[in-house]
């Protein structure tokens, strides 16, 4: 049986991709296997752990629950797109500084969820941070240092905003 393929047009981290994909290919597999962006992780494949969180058109989504064809025409941001070792994103810096990374498997998804929050609001309350991260499971940290890291990153955001308005 020849599998039917669908043509999709997806922008990932600012780069346009045009690919033929199977109708049942998830966005997660598209990112990891077709594009080689393995920073996005699979922890459960059922939308229950958040390890595969990416930002699609400004919203945090579980990429294991989105089909690549559903992402047609969308802008997707992954962990690889928000910072590099030479130019880390404030959240990446804060996660290192606060020791919020242990095994690191939840980290990319956690950072992407936090980014959606901070992009909207740079002075969140602790409860708002916890709420925003509550699709993301972490088994190593008890969340203490992750919450601290998001608070620290929020301060970076505020400073940046202040500097840019000066």
């Amino acid at each position: 049986m020849i599998e039917e393929k669908n043509f999709v047009n997806i922008t990932v981290n600012g780069i346009k991709y045009q690919e033929n994909v199977s109708p049942n290919l998830t966005l997660l597999k598209f990112l990891r296997e077709d594009l080689g962006l393995t920073g996005t992780k699979e922890g459960c494949g059922n939308g229950q752990c958040g390890a595969c969180t990416v930002i699609m058109d400004g919203k945090a989504v579980n990429s294991c629950l989105v089909l690549a064809v559903q992402a047609n025409g969308s802008h997707v941001e992954t962990i690889e797109g928000i910072g590099t070792p030479d130019k880390l994103h404030p959240l990446q810096k804060a996660f290192i500084k606060e020791g919020a990374v242990q095994c690191g498997f939840c980290t990319p998804g956690m950072i992407m969820s936090a980014k959606v929050l901070l992009d909207k609001k740079n002075n969140p309350e602790e409860e708002e941070i916890r709420e925003a991260l509550s699709g993301n499971l972490c088994r190593c940290t008890g969340y203490v240092k992750i919450v601290q890291a998001v608070k620290r990153a929020a301060d970076y955001y505020k400073k940046k905003k202040k500097n840019s308005s000066l």
Binding site: R32, E33, G36, L37, T38, G39, T40, K41, E42, G43, C44, G45, N46, Q48, C49, A51, T78, I79, E80, G83, T84, P85, L88, Q92, F95, I96, K97, E98, G99, V101, Q102, C103, G104, F105, C106, T107, P108, I111, E127, I129, R130, E131, L133, S134, G135, N136, L137, C138, R139, C140, T141, G142, Y143, V144, K145, I146, V147
Partner: protein, 752 residues
């Protein structure tokens, strides 16, 4: 506090941080290589059965299928998956693929194919005829007269192992006691829920070598067992640990590497096999469910005179680590008990297989022991902290049932530290939410427990390390115990940087672990990296430093005693005056040219003891008596882990350990469906794990302490932090409701 060291004791960021926050870190699941194909396992849907027929002909016809294996195609040998040093206790009772599955998920056949999807299609087309056999899941069922035997060819009973140790005479001790207390408690099986699921990529090459990249805690034990199973010598087998997404014990056992290797042997290509979450839930090892009976005798003055612990652990379908767990449990008595008896039994059932998990028997034991101590104190009107401190081991005391003496113990400081935090929290509370105080249905209370653990396997542990100095004065450290996410690569690098005089830890690259390059090591378990591994690394760095100092004395033509190491600098007392050199300057000067040397440090280390770290846990519990809702708003954990090499990493260990302990106490459980005889929990919806909104506020106190036998005074931390949590929560629930929970998790057994 005066700073004693330059680098030890500082919160250096993890050396692999940048790779992890940018998504560049490569885990097993991120491995893709030319020629790579995929493998999947057909697992038994029945808890106990016999395969009477298996037909793979239709499955073989699926396009893209490269090969199929059943038990008929694989060496029919028994082995044990445990990653522990060779021991007479280990029972060989499992097969790579079986025709007599003993739990839901037991491995019956395996497929190698072009894609994971093709594997799934082929698995569906393998026809297996099963004859169902009677299955048992609970300890009591397994012990009952006439119970079906799980391993009838090996044992005439379902008890596969027992262990007994007595010091003094417990019956006499009880006779001498003024009061005797007795209780039975039960604990459940739980999953580790490491975020990365179990996985491996296995390559059986054309020149008969094997390379395994995979999730593992002990590459050298894996190599030994794989050599046994394949008939290849150890020098032809390479086990590599990529970055690991947690484990918490679950990968101290071989999982499916043997299957991966035999699948790869069929096609001589790399075979990638990653568990999906459902497979992980029922087919990877869980924490042993337990049944624990405790009898305690105390004097009128509040002294413990006798302690009798009788433990049954449910190992499920295979023994794995069970027989080793029992003696390990017996060594965790942290009170001065003149008459001590530990009896342990490891019991086969058809429940999910149990193995290593954070705490290794101590979580279960601590719940039983600390709960009965709380009951004694509540009944007698004794203060639970004073009672414990009065009976606690102190420096110089012999540990019950062992010949080891306690060499460091700051338990009083832990109790004080925890209590101080509690007082602060209560003060803050008074000025805040009166709303809850106005609701008479909501009761709040604090519960307490003490905990301890070991630092490595006592008496039988060993580790080794190699320090290689690069031209530019940076260093490569080779160790055989993997960093599994806990941060050992960083703290071991800190030890090297401190000892050799490097400016920062970032100048050290830790390689852990790859059996091709890293020296033999027992692996990552038993909270042994900082203490056992740390001592080996310290000795290797010292070995390297000795060579450097020797070379400096030759180079300057001075006596050896005229070369010193002060404050991280190398000082040479020459006739022209003192010369002070940094590590990089020394290496630049001493490596090249006539008389230059290559600097290597090597050491192996065998500890003579396994020092106990200690903890005091105070948990706040909030119970709504109308709705039954239970919350744990605050958990305080004060620990004595000796010198803290990296405070940030240690705090993270405590916070994560507490979080895991709260889940264990309240709601995590692997239950068997009595009708369908399979686990009820098959995903992360049915199995409850804390998210950020559910998690308590966790408060950590690191007590200043020093273990004389530890590297720079360090002891262990990792497992300790989960151990005392459940008993503290259960104590809090009693104080709020007047009801003692005797069986974990709380949520399934609440009857007030």
């Amino acid at each position: 506090m005066q700073k004693k060291y330059r680098i030890v004791g500082t919160s250096e960021p993890r050396i692999e941080s940048i790779a992890k926050v940018t998504g560049m870190a490569k885990y097993t699941t991120d491995i893709f290589m030319p020629g790579m194909v995929y493998g999947k396992i057909l697992r038994s849907p029945y808890a106990h059965a016999r395969v009477t027929g298996i037909d793979v002909s239709e499955a073989k016809k699926v396009p893209g299928v490269l090969g199929i294996l059943t038990f008929k195609d694989i060496p029919n040998v028994l082995y044990n998956c445990s990653g522990t040093p060779p021991s007479g206790l280990v029972i060989k009772d499992e097969r790579i693929l079986t025709n007599k599955p003993k739990y839901v998920g037991d491995k019956v056949a395996a497929v190698v194919a072009q894609s994971e999807k093709t594997c799934d299609e082929a698995l569906k087309k393998i026809k297996v005829d099963y004859e169902l056999l009677p299955s048992i899941f609970k300890i009591e069922e397994a012990l009952a007269k006439g119970a079906p035997l799980v391993h009838s060819s090996l044992f005439k009973t379902n008890i596969c192992s027992s262990f007994r140790v007595e010091e003094g005479n417990v019956e006499q001790g009880l006779k001498k006691s003024d009061y005797i207390f007795e209780e039975t408690s039960r604990t459940q099986g739980v999953q580790t829920i490491a975020m990365e699921t179990t996985g491996c990529v296995c390559h059986y090459t054309y020149d008969n070598r094997i390379i395994v990249w995979g999730t593992t805690q002990n590459p050298h034990h894996d190599r030994r067992i794989l050599a046994d199973l394949t008939g290849l010598s150890e020098n032809r087998i390479r086990v590599v640990k990529p970055v690991m997404g947690g484990t918490f014990g679950v990968r101290q056992q071989l999982h499916h590497q043997p299957i991966g290797i035999f699948l790869s042997k069929l096609v001589r290509r790399p075979v990638k096999m990653i568990y999906d979450r459902e497979e992980e839930m029922y087919a990877s090892v869980i924490r042993h469910p337990s049944l624990i009976k405790v009898r305690v005798g105390v004097s009128r003055e509040g002294k413990i005179l006798a302690f009798h612990i009788k433990v049954y652990v449910n190992t499920g379908g295979y023994a794995t680590q069970g027989p080793i767990l029992l003696p390990s449990m017996s060594k965790k008595m942290q009170y001065k008990v003149p008459h001590y008896l530990f009896e342990g039994f490891c019991v086969y059932t058809n429940a999910p297989v149990a193995g290593s998990m954070r705490g290794f028997g101590n979580t279960q034991l601590n719940f039983a022991r600390e709960t009965i101590i709380n009951e004694i104190c509540e009944k007698m009107g004794w203060d639970p902290i004073d009672f414990r401190l009065k009976n606690h081991l102190q420096v110089g005391d012999k540990i019950p049932s062992l010949n080891d003496e306690v060499q460091s113990c700051k338990i009083e400081e832990c109790a004080q530290g925890a209590n101080n935090i509690k007082n602060i929290l209560e003060k803050e509370r008074c000025s805040q939410d009166t709303q809850i105080f106005n609701n008479p249905a909501i009761k709040r209370a604090w519960g307490i427990s003490f905990g301890n653990h070991g630092s490595g396997i006592s008496g039988r542990d060993q580790a080794a390390a190699v320090v290689l100095v690069n031209d530019d004065g940076t260093v490569k450290l080779l160790v055989g115990s993997p960093d599994i996410g806990q941060g050992s690569d960083t703290i071991l690098a800190q030890i090297v940087a401190e000892e050799l005089g490097l400016e920062t830890t970032q100048m050290v690259t830790t390689v852990s672990a790859d059996t091709e390059y890293t020296p033999y090591d027992n692996g990552t378990f038993s909270s042994r990296q900082a203490y056992v591994g740390g001592n080996a690394v310290l000795k290797a760095a010292q070995d390297c430093k000795n060579t450097i100092m020797e070379q400096l004395s030759l180079l300057y033509g001075v006596e050896a005693k005229k070369v010193y190491f002060v404050d991280g600098k190398y000082v040479v007392n020459t006739p022209r005056g003192e010369e002070c050199l940094t590590f990089a300057e020394v290496i630049h000067k001493a490596s090249f040219g006539v008389g230059g040397r290559v600097f290597i440090g090597r050491a192996d280390y065998k500890p003579s003891t396994s020092p106990m770290p200690f903890a005091v846990c105070i948990a706040e519990v909030e119970v709504n008596l109308d709705s039954g809702e239970i919350k744990v708003p605050n958990v305080i954990m004060a620990i004595d882990s000796g010198t803290i090499i990296n405070p940030c990493i240690v705090e993270g260990q405590v916070q994560g350990g507490v979080s895991m302990g709260v889940g264990y106490a309240l709601y995590e459980t692997m239950r068997m469906d009595p009708k369908f005889k399979r686990p009820l929990e098959s995903d992360l919806l049915s199995y409850k794990v804390q998210f950020a909104v559910d998690s308590p506020r966790i408060h950590v106190c690191l007590v200043d302490s020093y273990e004389p036998t530890g590297p720079y005074g360090a002891k262990s931390v990792g497992e300790l932090t989960t151990v005392p949590v459940a008993a503290a929560i259960v104590h809090g629930i009693y104080k709020a409701t007047g009801y003692w929970v005797r069986e974990l998790p709380v949520i399934s057994n609440l009857k007030f």
